[in-house]
């Protein structure tokens, strides 16, 4: 087969093989162990879950997503 076609197929296999190895690493290093906890990764102490951010167009901000979206409250809220 031509060199070009060979490289094309090999690199496709490399990409997929890389994907497979990453998958196996992830599985055996416990990345899949606590799925629910993974969804909380974007949040932390400074910007916890339950607090909205970036409500720039809102007039009466309420950053606590558990409260109904109305009423006047200071943006600062009670962080921490």
């Amino acid at each position: 087969m031509s060199a070009g076609a060979l490289i094309l197929v090999l690199s496709s296999l490399l990409i997929i093989g890389g994907g497979l190895s990453l998958f196996l690493w992830a599985f055996f290093s416990g990345q899949f162990d606590n799925i629910q906890r993974g969804s909380m990764l974007p949040f932390d102490e400074e910007e916890p879950a339950g607090k909205r951010t970036d409500q720039i167009f809102g007039d009466e901000e309420d950053l606590d997503q558990n409260k109904p979206y109305k009423g006047e409250e200071k943006i600062r809220g009670s962080r921490k």
Binding site: G4, G19, A26, E47, A49, D54
Partner: protein, 475 residues
């Protein structure tokens, strides 16, 4: 809830943002330069399609050179540079380490910009490499490739030195993107594809993979971060999002040959790509369900955030364009729409309605937080959103609407070919109109950022959402 084991000596979010400032702003500002230049090229190309004699004596401005330069500046300039900046910021936040090799990345970025500028001049001068999505001369692709490799090295270092044990789904997408893109660029630059149909196969393997393995991961990583972040609500089903990632990783690579349906390549080659294109429906639907279930019930929170207006628009466009793509890959549909303006619009839904709008949303979140400044006008942000959103919708409806008719007319031998052209002209005019709307939106965006970066200190129109950070730094 405990967001995952956090190790000692971890920097705070505001400290990470502060360290990210120079490198991320440099990449975003570079990207915006190419956005404006690429938009100008887009207008010229679009106008020339229905005004073919306009500027018709200038060889360097002929459609056949301006159109590919538009593509290359948007792909390797705007989307890649800004995308890289957004990606590095996301990784810094999610791995809780500062961006590594910051100085090297800025130098690499400068070289990237210079290489792209030289490549642009080369294309207008007639020295295009002549392969779609790969028109930049190899000598200018190499510096860009090296710059990406430096960023990939930074990403791997950040991964090794991370302060969180578990990797969020956005991290997976981004690491994969920074490994896949250099590989694609290297393979496509090798001079070993020495017969036309083999080179054509490489061409479309490359072009489609750049979309699915570089831009899509960056876009989805952003969506998976900003949607929960702004809403204060975690992703609906994190397990589903992982499945979506692996689906992309395993199926996407084989899609590219669906660009050659009906062409002079072995049929089985093409059939595999059609199967892979249809299989992609699985990860795409998974992503869509996840986003929808996370956002549902929070409509007001979405429209009150400039970031989410753009991000949710982009995420929905991703679902739409991907499902449309799977449909287009079927032979019966392909017979009609292949070679028509339908496909051009499809490409723009992907690169604009998805990738570009996603990057706009990301910039609206990131820039104030790393510069610690405010947008000076809420109204202008809304103008940006509506001009670009309406612009791309007009573009899509006009060209995909007439594209279908064009396709049906082309496969009807009783319709003279010239009629398949004249029927599209009013819609090409509509496309130019939409282009002016999008241009206006881009200029507003650039102005907003210019004002924020170079003329701060005005009374901000937006609420001060990080007084806490300011207090931290005052003390």
């Amino acid at each position: 809830m405990d967001p995952g084991s956090k190790q000692p000596n971890t920097l705070s979010v505001s400290e990470l943002d502060r360290k990210a400032r120079s490198v991320v702003m440099f990449l975003i500002l570079s990207g915006i330069f190419w956005l404006l230049f690429g938009t100008l090229l887009a207008l010229v190309a679009s106008l020339k399609m229905h005004l073919p004699d306009w500027l018709g004596t200038a060889g360097w401005l002929t459609f056949g050179r301006v159109r590919p330069l538009h593509l290359n500046t948007m792909v390797y300039g705007w989307a890649s540079l800004t995308g890289a900046g957004v990606a590095l910021w996301l990784l810094s936040r999610l791995l809780k380490v500062p961006i590594m090799l910051r100085g090297y990345i800025v130098v690499a970025g400068v070289i990237w910009n210079i290489a792209l500028l030289i490549g642009s001049i080369q294309i207008l001068a007639g020295n295009s490499r002549g392969i779609e999505w790969l028109e930049l001369p190899v000598a200018t692709m190499v510096p860009i490739l090296l710059s990406v490799i430096i960023m990939s090295a930074s990403v791997l270092m950040m991964l090794v030195m991370r302060k969180v044990k578990q990797l969020y789904v956005s991290v997976w997408y981004l690491i994969a993107a920074f490994l896949w893109f250099p590989l694609l660029a290297v393979v496509s630059s090798l001079p070993i594809f020495d017969t036309p149909t083999v080179q054509a196969s490489m061409n479309w393997w490359y072009a489609h993979n750049v979309l699915g393995l570089w831009f899509t991961p960056v876009g989805l990583a952003a969506a998976y971060y900003f949607i929960p972040k702004v809403l204060g609500r975690p992703i609906y089903s994190y397990g589903l999002s992982l499945l979506g990632f692996w689906g992309l990783a395993l199926f996407y690579n084989w899609n590219g040959f669906h660009h050659l349906i009906g062409g002079p390549v072995p049929t089985w080659f093409v059939t595999i790509s059609i199967s892979a294109s249809v299989m992609m429906i699985i990860p795409v639907v998974v992503v869509a369900v996840n986003h929808h279930m996370t956002v549902v019930g929070s409509f007001r929170a979405v429209i009150n955030s400039p970031t989410l207006r753009f991000v949710v628009f982009a995420a929905m466009s991703y679902t739409f364009v991907s499902l449309q793509g799977a449909m287009q890959a079927l032979r019966s549909a392909n017979e009609v729409i292949h070679f028509t303006h339908f496909v051009v619009a499809h490409a723009h839904i992907g690169m604009y309605a998805f990738v570009t709008m996603m990057l706009f949303g990301a910039c609206y979140y990131i820039i104030p937080r790393i510069t610690m400044r405010e947008w000076h006008s809420k109204g202008l942000i809304k103008w940006h959103f509506w001009l670009t959103a309406i612009g791309i919708v007009i573009y899509t409806v006009a060209l995909q609407g007439i594209g279908v008719f064009q396709g049906f007319s082309m496969i009807n031998p009783d319709v003279p070919f010239t009629d398949t052209v004249t029927m599209t002209v009013p819609y090409l005019v509509a496309r130019s109109v939409s282009g002016f709307l999008m241009t206006a939106g881009h200029l507003i965006f650039a102005w907003l950022i210019f004002r924020m970066v170079w003329r701060p200190g005005e009374q901000p129109a937006t609420p001060l959402v990080w007084n806490k950070i300011r207090e931290e730094f005052a003390s």
